[in-house]
Symmetry: C2
Subunit: 287 residues, 2 copies
């Protein structure tokens, strides 16, 4: 595995390595099973796989945890190497942002819903850093987890609307045996909370069943999900939303591809989960 820290070296390396297609996995490091599932798919589908590890200051708000965000370069390098990454791109902040940007990218749609509502400017930073990384690495396919469905949707729309010459691939959320979405935050759950946490996905599966049964009114489905989560968990519901996908628009009746997403605040951990469905309730596993 080649480790690269400068943009110049990276663009030269891409030119130098012969390849049919480049698969790209953008990360902020502290690699876990979620990242590795993206890498596995990237390796299956491409002959050159590049991973970036870059904690992007632009996507953290002034009161967010940029400084405290967990970093472990040695462990990440080890994991990336074992996963079969060909090129690991780990630039410094100074390398990526040597000067104040003269251009600002603002995501104007799909940001004031789901988790974006509480993180103004977050997706502007995501869009900017991905624009730079896509230009530096020139991947044919970029892999993202559908667990962060809003991020996937916004990146997907960015790439489509600005005609980036690549395809954004969304891959299914990796789950524990009982359905709980894997997350580094799960370790912060108490035993009782951990037992309850599986209800997030159960409530989404119940919502799917309602849709399959013919209930097309999102308000009715949301009310049922809310009832279930309130009954089965002690967490505080942050949101239950049903939106068109990937446009993330409000809908009054379900007649297109949708996302049903929930966020529940437990004592020490805020959990999110979602399910992507066709209008008839068929589950969508890859986008």
């Amino acid at each position: 595995m080649k480790i690269i820290r400068t943009i110049n070296e990276m663009t030269n390396k891409i030119k130098e390595l012969s390849h049919e297609t480049i698969g790209f996995v953008a990360t902020m490091g502290f690699l876990h099973e979620g990242h590795l599932s993206l890498v596995r798919k990237a390796k299956e589908e491409n002959d050159l796989v590049v991973m970036s590890i870059f904690v992007n200051p632009l996507q953290f708000g002034p009161n967010e945890d940029f400084e405290e965000y967990p970093r472990n370069e040695e462990q990440d390098t080890d994991i990336a190497e074992k996963a079969g990454i060909d090129v690991l791109f780990m630039p410094t902040v100074k390398e990526m942002y040597p000067e104040e940007l003269a251009i600002k990218m603002t995501i104007e749609k799909g940001t004031d819903v789901l988790c974006g509502r509480s993180r103004p400017g977050h997706f502007d930073g995501v869009g900017t850093v991905l624009t730079k990384l896509f230009h530096i690495i020139e991947p044919n396919y970029a892999y993202f987890g559908l667990k962060d469905a809003q991020q996937f949707a916004i990146v997907h729309n960015l790439v489509r609307q600005l005609n980036f010459p690549l395809q954004v691939v969304g891959l299914p959320t990796i789950r524990e045996a009982d359905g709980l979405a894997k997350s580094s935050r799960n370790v912060n759950l108490s035993d009782r909370e951990r037992a309850e946490a599986k209800q997030l996905y159960k409530s989404l599966q119940y919502a799917q069943k309602l849709l399959v049964d013919g209930i097309k009114n999102p308000d009715i489905i949301k009310a049922e999900v809310q009832k279930m989560l309130q009954k089965e968990t002690n967490g505080i519901i942050d949101y239950i939303e049903i939106l068109s996908f990937p446009n993330l628009g409000q809908i009054s009746t379900i007649k297109e591809q949708i996302i049903i997403a929930v966020a529940v605040q437990f004592e020490q951990a805020r959990l999110i989960d979602n399910i992507l469905l066709q209008a008839d309730g068929t589950k969508i596993d890859r986008l």
Copy 2:
């Protein structure tokens, strides 16, 4: 010459045509000698040359002349073919903007000087359309005239800061025998104005001489240029500016690459011109 009107066809054509490098000339059509000088250089330096003709609504203000902007597809096609263009990309507005953009690009530096001051939002539209065109055509080199030095500077900074995998090339202003910069607006000058108009470039050459002679204070040089233009023309001076280049920042003393730019309003035509200089006064002809 292949004429292409859809994005899909364009990206496919690029993949299909074998080439070492792609040279790209972005235009709004109504082709003239200025465009052709860019094409000639693109042909010299690349084995595949693509031109786009697209009157981009995004870069026109609400009170500007998008509808009235001159168009002549038949004549342009003829000129492009004769000039040796390989692929002419002429998309419709609907093809380039099928829906409202979810992402807004805002140029935050270098826009409130020179001609940009009177065209708020103009360069945001330029940046957005060029981002799309660069992604669709994937050129190695994109050629722009230095007559519109502000546009060159902003595109140059956009490409550098967002790491587009291409090089922006700035080529010298094409001039009449007496030094007047070629422009489709020159035909609107009266005979007396046409005779006076050469003074724009003469005043810039005089400014260069002052710098070569060791005058590093931009205010002194601007005052001399102003005196000369007021004495030798009946036009109204819109601006005389000396800025760092390509950053377009204000400077108090000349110690880096600069632009000296003037705009003069005549009865029926507003003329602009500029000169790019090293700190020692050496003229810069290509960037």
